[in-house]
C-alpha cells in the first residue's frame, strides 16, 4: 500500500523538482529582460496565492494592492528616512500590512459578498488617494524615486539583476511552501468549509470570524512583503501602480490559474504575465484577448488552467471506458 502511494505522489513532485532546478539556472540561460519578466511573475504569483486564501473563504478582497502598497511604502520610508536595513524592513513591511489588515478586518470581515468587496474597494481607493494626495511623506502622484537596493550580504551586493532574482525567487518559494503547508495542515480544510457555508460552519462551532481575520492578516502580510521586494527592486513606485487594475488582475490570475490548488494562482499569474511579453506585437489586442480567454475558462474550465491535466485525463478515461465496454457506458 505504502509503495503505491509513493509512486502516485511522485509525478507532481518530480515536475516541481525539475521546475525548481530550471528556475535556479535561469540567470545563466536567458537575458536580463526575461529575468525581469520572471521576477514580476514571482511577485504577482505571491499576490495571487495569498489572495486565494481569502477567495477560498468566499470573500473577494479588492484591497490586496493597497496592502502591497502599505508594505512597499513602509519599507521604502524606513530605509530611506531612518536608514534601517532592508532585511529588517522587509519584515516590518509585512507586519505593517498585517496590522492594518487586522484593524480593517475587525469591522469589515463581518460582511460577506458584495458588502465585503465594496468595503475593500473603498479602502483601496482611500489608500490610493492618501498616497497620491500627500507629497510630504509619500511623494504624491509621482511617487518615490531612487529607492535603494537591499543592503549587501557578503558578495551579494545587488549590483546585478540575478541577485534580485534569487532573492525574489526565495521569497516566492517560501510563500508557496507556507500556503501549501497551511492547506495540508489539520485546520487547512476549515477555510474551505467556511467558504462553502459559513452559516453551517458557525453552527458547528467553528470560529468563523477568527479564521477570517487570520486569513486576512496572513494574506496581507505576504502582500506587504511582496510590496517591499517590488519597491527595492524597481527603485521607483507610484500610487497608480496599486490600483483597481491590479486588484482585478489578482482575481483573474487566481481564477484563471485555478483555485483548487495553492499552485493554481501562481500558474495563472505566471502565464498571464508571461504571454503578453511573448506576443508584444499584438499588444493592442491583448486586453480583448485576455478577456475572451477569461470568459472561455470560466465557462468551460472552471477549475482553472491547473485543472487541465485532470480534465484531459478524465476525458481520456471516459473514451477508454466507452471502448472497453463495447460502446456502451452507464
Amino acid at each position: 500500500m505504502v509503495s503505491i502511494k509513493l509512486r502516485s505522489n511522485m509525478g507532481p513532485l518530480i515536475t516541481i523538482a525539475i521546475l525548481l532546478v530550471g528556475l535556479l539556472l535561469m540567470p545563466t540561460l536567458v537575458s536580463s529582460y526575461w529575468i525581469h519578466v520572471l521576477m514580476l511573475m514571482f511577485l504577482y504569483g505571491i499576490l495571487a496565492v495569498s489572495l486565494r486564501q481569502m477567495l477560498i473563504l468566499g470573500q473577494v478582497s479588492f484591497a490586496h494592492p493597497a496592502f502591497m502598497a502599505i508594505g512597499a511604502y513602509t519599507s521604502t520610508m524606513l530605509v530611506m528616512n531612518l536608514g534601517l536595513p532592508f532585511w529588517f524592513t522587509i519584515f516590518l513591511a509585512g507586519f505593517a500590512s498585517g496590522i492594518v489588515a487586522f484593524l480593517l478586518g475587525l469591522p469589515v470581515l463581518r460582511l460577506t459578498g458584495p458588502y465585503f468587496f465594496l468595503a475593500t474597494f473603498a479602502f483601496l481607493e482611500v489608500v490610493r488617494m492618501i498616497l497620491t494626495h500627500y507629497y510630504v511623506p509619500f511623494g504624491g502622484p509621482m511617487g518615490i524615486y531612487n529607492i535603494p537596493p537591499p543592503n549587501p550580504i557578503g558578495p551579494i551586493n545587488f549590483s546585478s539583476i540575478s541577485h534580485f532574482y534569487y532573492l525574489i525567487l526565495i521569497v516566492f518559494v517560501i510563500t508557496l511552501l507556507f500556503f501549501y503547508s497551511l492547506e495540508r495542515s489539520r485546520f487547512g480544510q476549515s477555510w474551505h468549509a467556511i467558504g462553502q457555508s459559513h452559516l453551517l460552519a458557525e453552527s458547528l462551532g467553528v470560529n468563523v470570524m477568527g479564521y477570517r481575520v487570520l486569513a486576512f492578516v496572513i494574506a496581507c502580510f505576504f502582500a506587504g512583503v511582496a510590496g517591499a521586494c517590488y519597491a527595492h527592486y524597481m527603485t521607483h513606485m507610484s500610487p497608480m501602480e496599486f490600483g483597481l487594475t491590479l486588484s482585478v488582475d489578482c482575481i483573474v490570475w487566481a481564477v484563471v490559474g485555478g483555485m483548487g490548488s495553492v499552485f493554481g494562482p501562481a500558474v495563472g499569474a505566471g502565464i498571464l504575465t508571461f504571454i503578453p511579453q511573448v506576443f508584444k506585437s499584438t499588444a493592442e489586442y491583448e486586453a480583448g484577448l485576455s478577456a475572451v480567454i477569461f470568459i472561455i475558462i470560466i465557462l468551460f474550465l472552471p477549475g482553472g488552467l491547473i485543472s487541465l491535466p485532470q480534465v484531459i485525463s478524465r476525458r481520456i478515461k471516459k473514451r477508454e471506458d466507452i471502448v472497453t465496454s463495447g460502446g456502451k457506458v452507464g
Binding site: 460582511l111 468595503a119 482611500v126 488617494m129 481564477v255 480583448g288 475572451v292
Partner: protein
Amino acid sequence: MELTFFLQTLINGIQMGFLYVLMALGLTLIFGIMHVINFAHGQLYMLGGFFLWWLFAIHHVNYVLAILLSVIIVAAIGFIVERFLLRPIRDQELYVMCMTIALGQFFEFAARTVWGPLDKAIPPVLPGIIKFAGVAITYKRLMAVVVGIALVTGLYLFIQRTKAGLAMRAVEQDPEVATTYGMGINRTYALVFSLGALLAAASGALMGTIMVVNPVMGTAPMLKSFMIIILGGMGSVTGAIAGGLIVGMMDSFFSSLFGIDIAYIFVFVVAFTFIIFKPKGLFGRG
C-alpha cells in the same frame, strides 16, 4: 454662500444626480433580484453613449430614434449576455463576478478597437440656455432631467403595475415560492438584466449628449454607482433614487467648494462608513 451660487450648484447637482440615478437603478435591480454585482455596468453605459453617437453623428439618424435604438441595442446585448454567459454559471457567485469583469474589459476593448480611443462629441441637440433667477441650465441638461424623470416614473409603474414587474418583485422576495406560482427565474432574470442594461445605456446616451463619449467613460460612473447603492441600500429602488440625487448634489457642492479630488474621497469615505455601520443603507431591507 451666495444664493445664486447655491442654486446653480443645486441645479447642477440634481441634473447630474438623475443620470446617476438611472445608472444606479440598473445596478440595484440587477443586484437586488439576481444577486449579481454587474462589473460590466459601466461599459453598458459607455456603449449606450457610443451607439447614440454612431447612429446620430455618423449615420444621421433622427436624435430621438437614435436614443431609442441605442438603448434597445444595449438591452439586447444584456439579454444575450445573461442568457448565454451568466445563466450557465448562475449558482457560482465568484464566477459570475469574474464573468462580468471579463465582459466589461471586453466591451471596453471592443469600443476602443472599433471606434478608437479618442473623445467623440455628439453634435448639438437643442442648443441654447434657459436662465431664471440668476441660474442657467442648458436645454440639453434640462432634457436629460426630463428624460430621467420620465424613465424613473416609467420604471416605477412597470414594477408596480405590470405582471412582469410583479414577477420581478416576487422573485426578489422568495424565488422558490415564485416559481411554484409560475413566475420563472429564467425569464425574470433575463428581463432584469436587460432592463438594467437599458437604464445604464440611457444614462450613457444622455451623458454623451451633454458631454462626450469615449471608451473609458464608464468606469468612474460605475464606481460612483456602487457607492450610491451602498448609500441607498443595495436592492432598493427608492434607495437608488435617493442615493443618486444625494451623491449628485454632494458631488456638485464638494467639487465647487473643495475640488474634484476631495469630492471623490468624500463619497468613498461616506460609503465606507455606511458599509461598516449601516450596511443596509438608507432604504435597504432584508
